[in-house]
């Protein structure tokens, strides 16, 4: 075929012709392909541009939460009780470390204690979201902080920064009332979920702390503040490239809480407890402000902020004097003799003439013998309070029955909790017939007269806490109003409380009888005389001692000397001052403090009371104008005249009670 020229040429032409046609096709196809790409570009870049711009922004920017500074808690005079302090910490970002194990090895050389917690750290780091920094150690010293920064280049994924940590400058003084903050636990999150709410995201921030006890817990939401956000530009690996100031929102500090507590009184109150276990509440009798509320022994709440080591926690939890328990609110005890004025008041309401005399021969018989601490002879109500005569009040109780006593007890603040803004209060128990019907003893719902004598001297089923004792004392000292306690003075500048108090359903004359009796207690010859002398001239303290049996003793010494600590009686004391124009009430419970509120309770009450009185400008002016030195001398002379030792308390209490050195003028 190829030998014939025309075929040859046609072949050439055919080849070329088909090529040209197909070149046109290919050019067209390419142009179409280009057009298709442009169409797609238009679709993406012109019509869906906004959607993708949003996605790009979401890629580019991350919103990092900034935990808000927690609100401050201050005392009534503006002293910071719970504040924030800068804390240096070391954080690890898993995805920026090359090898977590190796990094932790190196970090362990700089911070040896991270080795001990290595397993915990690895667990926490692995549980955290990618690129989210996990604190592995907080509260670094400056040396440690600079060491880590110095070696930062060798430690990829490790960074050191500064944040704010909760700080309690007064250590254990407010551990129970103000409480503490701690890391958010799974249980906290679960509790919120169980309420059907979504836990706020800030809870999962490793730097965030949640209130765990006391004010920190009950006002957690007020103290928490509003978290800020930092808009940061990140790259694909999550590393922060830049911060977008305009898109960032500063964190708002939580509300400032002002408490009615007075730092000086509070500190002194805890101080005087020393090693003893117990609680003390100091109250303003006019407005119910709680000036001090301590529970001893205490613990350092700062330990809990960054996570308390389990060894220390165990030690605290296992200690028999129960430092973790808030004894002022949740420790309930039989009030013992401190309850006697209540019985007297109940009797007066039922028509008892306070001048009625009852003879004490040392025993009271109702089915069995009830002992008195002495043979007091014939006493009126004042004298019975002064001498704390069991027979007198057993007689009254046996005559009145439980319901009358319970009514007055409730009027004075027992058997109830008060809305002071923190939880954990126990109401205690004010027994009456109704209560017995609901709580039968072995199926018996009857209240037997044989139970009355014990009730009359504050024993039996009756239990109270230190706050109730303080409220009761304050109501008697106030004389007119049923004052209720107030702990939170203001939240974020908004004054709290302030509702008018109800009137006490007792005449001033009845109250006056009790006050006369309580003044006599602390006067020469009273059960609390030795340890109730303020040494502040005409400003004197009135009170009532009390002992609550910790267990049933049989015969033998009830002083408790030589007995193991946990078998000794509880020692109670309530008091108010000044006697002529009461301003402050105090209640003290010394657990296993031994017999007689005058020994362990009274000196402690006195010390706290002195601080409260001296801090009160009016009373201080009165003391200074009267000149307390001379009055003090007079008091001592009076005591000397009676042949009693000048020094008070300690000698009698012996080794059982060892209050810390008391520093007061004139001693």
């Amino acid at each position: 075929m190829s030998s014939e020229p025309h075929i040859f040429f046609s072949d050439v032409n055919e080849r070329q012709g088909s090529f040209l046609r197909r070149t046109m096709l290919m050019g067209g196809a390419t142009a179409l392909g280009g057009l298709a790409l442009v169409g797609r570009l238009a679709h993406l870049q012109l019509f869906k541009s906004e959607e993708f711009a949003t996605l790009a922004t979401r890629n580019q920017f991350n919103f990092r939460q900034v935990p808000p500074p927690r609100g401050l808690i201050k005392d009534r005079n503006g002293v910071v009780i719970a504040g924030n302090r800068p804390s240096f910490r070391v954080l690890v970002v898993r995805d920026e470390t090359k090898d977590l194990d190796q990094t932790l090895d190196l970090l362990g050389q700089l911070l040896p204690d991270t080795l001990e917690r290595r397993r915990t750290i690895i667990r926490e780091v692995n549980a955290a979201p990618r690129f989210s920094p996990v604190p592995v150690k907080s509260d670094l010293t400056w040396e440690e902080f600079s060491k880590v920064n110095l070696h930062a280049a060798e430690l990829p994924g490790v960074m050191a920064d500064m944040n704010e940590a909760r700080y309690y400058p007064h250590g254990g003084a407010y551990a129970h009332v103000v409480g503490y903050v701690a890391k958010v636990s799974d249980r906290d999150v679960k509790a919120i979920r169980d309420k059907g709410e979504q836990p706020p995201a800030i809870l999962f921030n490793p730097g965030f702390r949640i209130g765990r006890q006391g004010i920190e817990r009950s006002l957690d939401l007020d103290l928490r503040g509003v978290e800020g956000g930092k808009r940061v530009e990140v790259n694909a690996r999550g590393r922060v490239v830049a911060e977008d100031i305009a898109g960032s929102r500063p964190a708002v500090q939580g509300s400032e809480i002002v408490l009615t507590l007075d730092n000086d009184v509070q500190q002194r109150a805890l101080e005087v407890f020393g090693e003893e276990a117990g609680s003390m509440v100091v109250m303003d009798v006019r407005n119910g402000d709680i000036l001090a509320m301590v529970s001893s022994p205490s613990f350092d709440p700062n330990l809990f902020v960054s996570g308390v080591p389990s060894r220390i926690y165990r030690a605290l939890a296992d200690y028999e004097r129960r430092p973790l328990l808030d004894k002022a609110l949740s420790g309930t005890f039989a009030p013992g003799s401190t309850f006697k004025p209540v019985v007297g008041l109940a009797a007066m309401k039922r028509g008892l003439d306070p001048s009625r005399r009852i003879f004490c021969g040392g025993s009271f018989y109702l089915g069995r013998r009830f002992a008195c601490l002495g043979r007091h002879g014939s006493l009126d109500l004042r004298g019975a309070i002064k001498a704390s005569c069991n027979v007198y009040f057993m007689t009254l109780a046996a005559e009145m029955g439980p319901d009358a006593i319970a009514e007055t007890a409730r009027d004075l603040g027992f058997g109830q909790t008060f809305d002071i803004g923190i939880g954990g209060q126990k109401a205690g128990l004010v027994p009456d017939r109704e209560w017995r019907r609901k709580n039968p003893v072995r199926g018996d719902t009857k209240w037997y007269p044989g139970e009355n004598p014990s009730y009359g001297i504050g024993q039996g089923a009756l239990t109270v806490n230190a706050l109730q004792l303080a409220v009761y004392t304050a109501r008697i000292a106030n004389g007119r109003k049923a004052v209720t306690p107030r702990l939170i003075k203001s939240i974020g500048g908004v004054e709290q409380g302030g509702s008018a108090f109800a009137d006490l359903p007792y005449t001033p004359e009845m109250i006056q009888v009790l006050r006369d009796g309580m003044e006599a207690v602390t006067a020469a010859g009273g059960t609390g005389f030795r340890n109730s002398q303020l040494g502040l001239g005409t400003v004197k303290m009135a009170g009532k001692t009390g002992t609550a049996q910790a267990r049933n003793y049989g015969s033998g010494s009830r002083k408790g000397a030589g007995r193991p600590w946990d078998q000794k009686d509880h020692n109670l004391f309530v008091a108010y001052a000044p006697t002529d124009n009461p301003r402050y009430a105090v209640s003290v419970i010394v657990q296993h403090g031994g017999l007689g509120g005058g020994t362990a309770g009274a000196p402690r009450a006195r010390e706290a009371m002195k601080v409260a009185l001296l801090k009160d400008p009016e009373i201080r002016a009165r003391i200074e104008s009267a000149g307390f030195e001379a009055q003090e001398d007079a008091g001592v002379r009076e005591a000397e005249a009676r042949g009693e030792p000048i020094d008070n308390g300690d000698a009698e209490a012996g080794a059982a009670v060892a209050p810390p050195p008391l520093t007061e003028p004139g001693q």
Partner: protein
């Protein structure tokens, strides 16, 4: 002076004449594209010449000179060299496959280590393929090209490198080789019926091949293409991020050096396969349209050059070179826009990478040579086959 079909003898062989015959539109467009590529590489590096922009520009400069040099080469040398070049390149592909000189990078064994230089023979083998096919078709009739048993030869010329490269496994390059070869067979005049049958066969074969014949990562890419949102952090990540980069560019773009997707490394492979996304992000629709338009212009000009050649070898070789540049551009474009699976196909002239740029520039050297020597007629039947 322009050289027309009627010039004095010897006039056309003068270097100055040849130089004047170069198509400066092509050279200009290549410079624009390489310039855009350099600018993007400079931007991606955060405003630094290192590590990419400077090298890219230097390579382009050297290859530009080489391309103009190749344009001066008489087609008869191309013609004679066609089979040997094809043979040598195929040999190099085999070296990669069967000797320790080849080594693995990025999941595929497609690099050849020659001590002083690392090259990807799979890129260059396309040049040999185009030359060999052009030469074979040059010596055969239209009937042969349409449909005859002799087509087994071009099929073999395409099939051997295709299979070797596909086994590396470098699916992108293999696809380009197969499609370039296919386009050349089509241009040479393959019967429409055969084309129809071939397309039908491909449609029938590809789904089972995807499911059973592919490596896992290749299959993932294909499946991811079909539904990128199924695995946004894994294999779908590239496509999603690329679409975000494109889309967020909008009409005007975010501005040079301000593309958050590329600057903050959300965009993967942003200096090679996904460089077009960077262009689109920073210069918007206007920028990416310009780039596409440049390519289309380049391709149409090249096809016209092919059509104007007096020799069938010239026509087919120029068309073949154009075909693979067009395929590069279309496949890469479709890939970054989420229209095609992610297969490692670079954007010619824009993407960083010496082998790919060299292939393209050699291709354009041949196209320019075809233009310069468009009146040269090569004798028929001087072939091995």
């Amino acid at each position: 002076m322009t050289a027309s079909a009627l010039t004095r003898p010897g006039e056309r062989d003068r270097l100055s004449t040849k130089f004047a015959e170069l198509d400066w539109r092509i050279i200009g467009l290549l410079c624009i594209l390489a310039g855009i590529g350099t600018a993007m590489l400079y931007s991606i590096a955060g405003g630094h010449w290192q590590p990419w922009a400077a090298k890219h520009l230097i390579r382009f400069g050297v290859l530009l000179a080489g391309m103009i040099g190749l344009a001066m080469v008489h087609p008869k040398w191309w013609f004679h060299a066609a089979y040997p070049v094809y043979g040598v390149l195929l040999f190099m592909v085999m070296l990669v496959e069967f000797t320790p000189l080849g080594y693995v990078a990025g999941g595929a064994k497609n690099w050849l280590h020659l001590g002083f230089i690392r090259i990807q023979p799979a890129e260059f083998v396309k040049i040999g393929l185009v030359l060999a096919l052009a030469r074979w078709y040059h010596g055969h009739s239209a009937q042969d090209a349409r449909w005859s048993w002799k087509l087994l030869f071009p099929a073999g010329i395409i099939g051997v490198p295709f299979i070797l490269v596909a086994k590396q496994p470098d699916l992108g390059s293999a696809m380009i080789i197969g499609l370039t070869g296919g386009v050349m067979m089509f241009m040479a005049g393959l019967s429409w019926r055969v084309i129809g049958a071939g397309v039908a066969a491909a449609v029938a074969v590809i789904p089972p091949f995807v499911m059973f014949g592919m490596h896992d990562y290749q299959r993932n890419r294909v499946l991811t293409f079909l539904n990128p949102e199924a695995d946004p952090s894994g294999t779908g990540y590239n496509i999603i991020q690329s679409k975000i980069a494109l889309g967020s560019g909008g009409l005007m773009g975010k501005g040079y050096g301000l593309g958050s997707q590329s600057q903050l490394e959300f965009l993967p492979e942003r200096h090679t396969d996904f460089i077009f996304s960077t262009v689109s992000e920073e210069f918007g629709f206007i920028g990416s349209f310009t780039v596409i338009a440049c390519y289309v212009a380049l391709i149409l000009i090249s096809l016209r050059i092919a059509a104007l050649s007096h020799s069938h070898f010239g026509r087919l070789s120029a068309a073949g070179m154009t075909a693979f540049v067009a395929l590069f551009m279309l496949i890469n474009g479709a890939m970054v826009m989420g229209l095609a699976p992610v297969v490692g196909v670079p954007m010619p002239m824009l993407s960083y990478g010496g082998s790919s740029m060299m292939t393209v520039m050699v291709g354009f050297g041949l196209i320019l040579s075809t233009r310069v020597h468009r009146y040269v007629e090569l004798p028929k039947g001087q072939g091995l086959f």
